[in-house]
C-alpha cells in the first residue's frame, strides 16, 4: 500500500501502456496537477470557488464590523442556524442535478414535522415511531412527485408547485391556522441544543479524516492495480491536511467554554456530525454508485442515458424520494432549533435552499454540481443572515443582500463560462 504513495513522480506503470492518453491531469508532479486545476478554473469551471471567496469576504467584513461575530457562542450558533438550510440544499441537489426542481421540499418537511410534533405530544406516540412515520411522509411525497414527473411526464416545477400549495392546506388541517405545537421529545430537541463532549468532537474529526484517508488510499491502490496513473500523493495529503486544519480549528473553537459563569457550555453541537454523515454518504452515492452516476448522466443528456440502458424513470423517481426524505431531515433540524411547529413551517425556506445550491455552484439546468457546493452556498446565506442580524439590520435588508449575492454568484459563473466557451462543464 505504501509503495504507490511514495511514488510521487510520474506513474511509471502506465508510461509504456498508453503514454499519449493516460496523461494530463492524471499524473505527473504537483506542478502539473496545480496547473491543470488552474486551467480548469480559467476555462470557466469555477465550481464553488466564487462562493468560497464570497464566504471569506463576508466573514472578514462581519468580523470587523461586529466583534461578537467571531465569538465561540456565535460560531456555534451559526452551525445550528445553518444546519437546516445546509441539509435542505443537499436534498435539492439530487433533483437539481436531473435538471428538475422540487418547490415543495419545504412544505413537505412542514407537514412531516407537523405530524411528528403532534403525534409526540406528551402521552402520545413513541418518538422513534413517529420519526419513522415522518420519514415515511417524505417517501410518499417524493414518490408522488416522482410518479408524475418520471412516469407521466408533468414538469417537476408544476407538480411541486401544486404540492407546495396543496400541502400548505394539509398543514392548516393538521395544525390549524395560527396554531403552534411545542416539540416534546427531548432526544429531538437535543440535536440542535446539546453538544458532544469535547473528546467526542475530536473523535468525530478523527473518524472523518480516517474515512477520507482510507478511501483515498483504496482508490490509489485500485488504480495502481489496473495500471491507471495516480495523481501525486502530495496533493492527497495537502487536501487532507487542509480539511484536518480547518476541522481541528472548528472543533477546538467549539470545545471552548461558551457558557455563562453559572452554566458551562462547550462542545460540537450534535447536529454537526449528523450533517457530516449526510454529506459523506450522499457524496459517496453520487460519486461512486450507478444511481449517482445515472443522475448526472440524465441531467447531462437524458436520451444518451436512455440509450445506454439507464432506467431513466426509476432513477428520476428515486431521486425525488431521496430529496423529500432529506428534506424531512432538514425539518427535524428545524423543529429541533425552533422548538415548535406551526402551520407556516417550511414555506419560505425552500427557495433559500435552491439559492444555497446555486450560490454554491450547482447548475439549475442539471448535470453539474456536488453536495458540498450546496453546503458552502447554504453557509454563505447563513453567514449573511447571522452577520446582518448581529449588526441589527432589518430582515428586509437581509433578504435584499441574500438576493443580491445569489444574482452575483450566478453572474460570476455565467461570465466565467461565457468567456471560456467550454473547457468541460
Amino acid at each position: 500500500m505504501s509503495t504507490e504513495i511514495e511514488n510521487e513522480g510520474p506513474a511509471t506503470v502506465v508510461e509504456d501502456e498508453a503514454p499519449s492518453l493516460l496523461g494530463k491531469g492524471g499524473h505527473g508532479g504537483v506542478g502539473d496537477a496545480v496547473r491543470s486545476y488552474f486551467q480548469r478554473v480559467r476555462g470557466g469551471d469555477m465550481g464553488p470557488l466564487p462562493a468560497v471567496g464570497g464566504l471569506v469576504v463576508l466573514v472578514v467584513i462581519f468580523a470587523i464590523a461586529n466583534p461578537l461575530f467571531l465569538t465561540e457562542r456565535n460560531i456555534a450558533n451559526l452551525f445550528t442556524q445553518a444546519a437546516p438550510l445546509v441539509t435542505l440544499g443537499m436534498a435539492l441537489v439530487f433533483v437539481l442535478l436531473l435538471g428538475e426542481i422540487d418547490l415543495s421540499a419545504g412544505v413537505t418537511f412542514g407537514v412531516a414535522m407537523g405530524v411528528f410534533v403532534k403525534l409526540t405530544q406528551p402521552g402520545g406516540m413513541a418518538w422513534p415511531l413517529a420519526l419513522l412515520l415522518a420519514l415515511g411522509i417524505g417517501v410518499a411525497v417524493g414518490g408522488f412527485i416522482g410518479f408524475f414527473v418520471a412516469r407521466i411526464g408533468v414538469p417537476s416545477f408544476v407538480v411541486s408547485l401544486g404540492l407546495f400549495l396543496g400541502l400548505q392546506g394539509v398543514m392548516l388541517v393538521i395544525i390549524g391556522a395560527g396554531g403552534t405545537y411545542r416539540l416534546s421529545p427531548s432526544q429531538i430537541r437535543a440535536i440542535q441544543n446539546q453538544n458532544l463532549p469535547p473528546w467526542a468532537g475530536w473523535t468525530m474529526l478523527g473518524v472523518v479524516l480516517g474515512v477520507l484517508f482510507a478511501v483515498a488510499l483504496l482508490d490509489r491502490r485500485r488504480r495502481a492495480a489496473s495500471g491507471a496513473p495516480n495523481p501525486p500523493a502530495s496533493i492527497m495529503y495537502a487536501k487532507l491536511g487542509v480539511i484536518a486544519v480547518l476541522g481541528a480549528f472548528v472543533v477546538f473553537y467549539l470545545n471552548q467554554d461558551r457558557g455563562t459563569a453559572a452554566r458551562s457550555l462547550q462542545g460540537v453541537p450534535i447536529v454537526v456530525p449528523l450533517v457530516l454523515l449526510i454529506l459523506m454518504v450522499g457524496t459517496y452515492v453520487l460519486d461512486r454508485t450507478r444511481f449517482g452516476r445515472y443522475i448526472y448522466a440524465i441531467g447531462g443528456n437524458t436520451e444518451a442515458a436512455r440509450r445506454a440502458g439507464v432506467n431513466v424513470t426509476l432513477v428520476k423517481w428515486s431521486a425525488f424520494v431521496v430529496c423529500s426524505v432529506l428534506a424531512v431531515v432538514a425539518g427535524i433540524f428545524t423543529v429541533s432549533k425552533v422548538g415548535s411547529a406551526d402551520a407556516a413551517m417550511g414555506r419560505e425556506i425552500v427557495l433559500s435552499g435552491v439559492a444555497a445550491a446555486v450560490v454554491g455552484g450547482v447548475s439549475l439546468f442539471g448535470g453539474r454540481g456536488r453536495l458540498v457546493h450546496a453546503v458552502i452556498g447554504a453557509t454563505v446565506i447563513a453567514v449573511i443572515t447571522n452577520g446582518m442580524g448581529l449588526l441589527k439590520f432589518s430582515a428586509g435588508a437581509n433578504l435584499a443582500v441574500t438576493g443580491g449575492v445569489l444574482v452575483l454568484a450566478a453572474t460570476v459563473d455565467a461570465l466565467a463560462r461565457k468567456r471560456s466557451g467550454a473547457t468541460g462543464v
Partner: protein
C-alpha cells in the same frame, strides 16, 4: 465466407406503407459494409430493426448462422450489436471514461472501479490508434465533433461489440475530421468487427467500405464489392436508373 449477420426477406410496414419489401442483407466480420440509398429508401428502418428499436414484421435474422429475434434493444446488445447514432448519444457533463462506460460501469465491492475503467478505456482507444484525445478525464463538452465521434465509436469497442452500426458518422464533420473518423472505421473493422455504415457521401463510402448494399424503395437493388464497382454505377442503383441482374433478392 459466412456472414455474422444475415437478413432474409425482411419486411416492415407502417400502416399501408410497405417500407421494407423483402430485403436481404449481410455483414461480415472484419469488413465494412456500406448501406446506401436515397431518403426514404428504408435504410433507417432496416437499422432500427437490427438495433431492436423497431422490430421487423417478417423475414428471418441469422446471427452467426443461428436464427435470432430482435424485439428489444437488449436483444441486440446481448448479441453484441451496437449502434452509434448520428446525434451521438454522449453526456456533455461526463468525461470520456464515464461516457464510454455509461450503463455498464465496472464495480468492485459495490463502488466504481475507476482505475480499471480508465485503463480499459485507454486500451480501447489504443486499439483504434486514437491520438487526438488529450486526457481521458476531459469532459465530453470540450471535445470537437470528430473527437466525440471517436468516443462514441470507442464505446462500442469497450463493449466488445461484434457488429457496429454507424449512422452517418461523418455528416457533421470537416474534411480532416472526416478522414480521421474513416480511418477509425477502417481500424475498427480490422480488429475483427463487422461494421455497417450508413452514408450519403459516396466519397466516404468508397474510401472505407468493402461491400456496398444499395436500397431502393424498400428493396435491395444491388450488393456490390466496392473494388468491383464505380461511383456512377452506385449512383445509378441509388436513383433507380440502373438495375442489377442476378442479385439474389
Amino acid at each position: 465466407m459466412s456472414a455474422i449477420i444475415e437478413l432474409r426477406s425482411i419486411t416492415k410496414s407502417f400502416g399501408p406503407v410497405d417500407v421494407l419489401k423483402g430485403v436481404d442483407f449481410t455483414a461480415h466480420e472484419g469488413r465494412v459494409t456500406a448501406l446506401v440509398g436515397d431518403n426514404g429508401a428504408g435504410k433507417s428502418t432496416l437499422i432500427k430493426g437490427l438495433a431492436g428499436v423497431q422490430p421487423y414484421d417478417g423475414g428471418e435474422v441469422l446471427f452467426e448462422g443461428n436464427p435470432v429475434t430482435l424485439h428489444h434493444p437488449r436483444d441486440a446488445a446481448r448479441l453484441g450489436i451496437e449502434v452509434v447514432y448520428q446525434d451521438l448519444a454522449l453526456c456533455d457533463n461526463l468525461d470520456i471514461v464515464q461516457n464510454m462506460f455509461l450503463g455498464r460501469e465496472e464495480l468492485a465491492g459495490g463502488t466504481f472501479d475507476e482505475g480499471r475503467m480508465e485503463a480499459e478505456a485507454a486500451r480501447a482507444l489504443q486499439t483504434l490508434s486514437v491520438k487526438t484525445v488529450k486526457s481521458l478525464r476531459q469532459k465530453v463538452a470540450s471535445l470537437s465533433g470528430g473527437q466525440r465521434q471517436t468516443v462514441a465509436i470507442a464505446r462500442s469497442v469497450v463493449k466488445k461489440a461484434k457488429v457496429v452500426i454507424l449512422d452517418e458518422p461523418t455528416a457533421a464533420l470537416g474534411v480532416a475530421q472526416t478522414a480521421q473518423v474513416l480511418d477509425l472505421v477502417r481500424r475498427l473493422a480490422d480488429s475483427g468487427v463487422a461494421v455497417i455504415i450508413i452514408s450519403h457521401n459516396l466519397q466516404d463510402v468508397f474510401a472505407v467500405a468493402d461491400d456496398i448494399s444499395v436500397l431502393y424503395l424498400g428493396t435491395m437493388t444491388a450488393r456490390l464489392e466496392a473494388s468491383q464497382t464505380s461511383r456512377d454505377d452506385v449512383v445509378g442503383y441509388i436513383t433507380g436508373t440502373k438495375r442489377m441482374t442476378g442479385v439474389d433478392a
